[in-house]
Amino acid sequence: MATLINLSSTQLLSFHSSTSFHPRNTPTLSLNLHPNSSSNLRPISIKPYHHSRKPHTWLVTMAVKNLGETESVTVSPESDGPAGELPPEAGVYAVYDKDGELQFIGLSRNIAATISAHRKSVPELCGSVKVGVVDEPDREALTQAWKSWMEEYIKITGKVPPGNESGNATWIKQQPKKKPDLRLTPGRHVQLTVSLEELVDKLVKENKVVAFIKGSRTAPLCGFSQKVIGILEKEGVDYESVDVLDEDYNYGLRETVKKYSNWPTFPQIFLNGELVGGCDILTSMHEKGEVAGLFKK
């Protein structure tokens, strides 16, 4: 074992005799960073107060009152309006329903605006709110404040607020993320160990819906590809896209896919490993209302 001295973390070092590793040698004393104790030591490893540090960084969590001590504000169109009691500032907030049950603890850069949005999207769950404005609202301070309220709630009730449970999307509207286009190769100058055809085969069989298009899914470069993407998006089909014009990461793909599918043009839409068709076919299926049924099964 090597002797390790890291000056910046000297307070985390502990002494260990490593005799067991050198039974025949004279016992040596070495300094080791103890991996398990570092987290335990952290709370007591607070450095002596440096004058160069601004004091407020230490007072961050104290800027927010405990959840229990905070007074609640009834949510109404007036309360989050410009003259309301809710501040248009950054901080932590807790939403209670009309029966006084805590529903969600959230963070916001503009509490009044966020509450207003909640009140509009889930009015039945917004009875009152508690608000803790965080001064100097950097990311860490906000997270700290949120954590302290969450911990306080969990300590008392033994559970996470329903809106904060993982998978609950009532309060956090997730923007539908656009998937990135898939790349078949790591780059055109990298020698492939399997043929491109095999990669195509694997790709269309492992993904339910794959669209080979010209251009990216966010910016299709051909009208037919655009039309197909439009149909898939409109029908809410979960699909993967591959840009056949990407000469860096999909070099040679156009010819390979044409040969693979025995279909002369792009776009090409695959479902469960089989070509469904191109723009004409998808368009006519769309007109007959068959797309959702077929692709979402």
């Binding site: 025995n262 279909w263 002369p264 043009t265 070509l275 469904v276 068709g277 191109g278 723009c279 004409d280 076919i281 006519s284 299926m285």
Partner: protein, 93 residues
């Protein structure tokens, strides 16, 4: 360069024996792109993809010169009849 509408029609006529065929040159006369409406008994029992493949295969030679071929319709005579009827009864659709 390019293919004439007549060439496309004659190839499709000889290979797919359509009961209705409409070929439109949508390239503006240079013979680079066509749209096709075709009704043939040979499409019976075939998926849309296979029908398009048949059209593509029938135009294999022409496809070398054609930039874009849009198969607007590839239906069986029976489907065609139904579509014509529904179009008449519901002209707005």
């Amino acid at each position: 360069m390019g293919v004439s509408k007549e060439q496309v029609e004659s190839s499709l006529n000889s290979k797919l024996n359509p009961s209705h065929l409409e070929v439109i040159d949508i390239s503006g006369g240079c013979g680079a792109s066509f749209s096709v409406e075709i009704v043939s008994e040979q499409f019976e029992g075939k998926r849309l993809l296979e029908r398009h493949r048949m059209v593509n295969a029938a135009l294999e030679e022409e496809m070398k010169e054609i930039h874009a071929l849009s198969v607007k319709k590839a239906v069986t005579p029976e489907q065609w009849k139904k579509q014509q009827e529904s179009n008449q009864s519901n002209p707005a659709a």
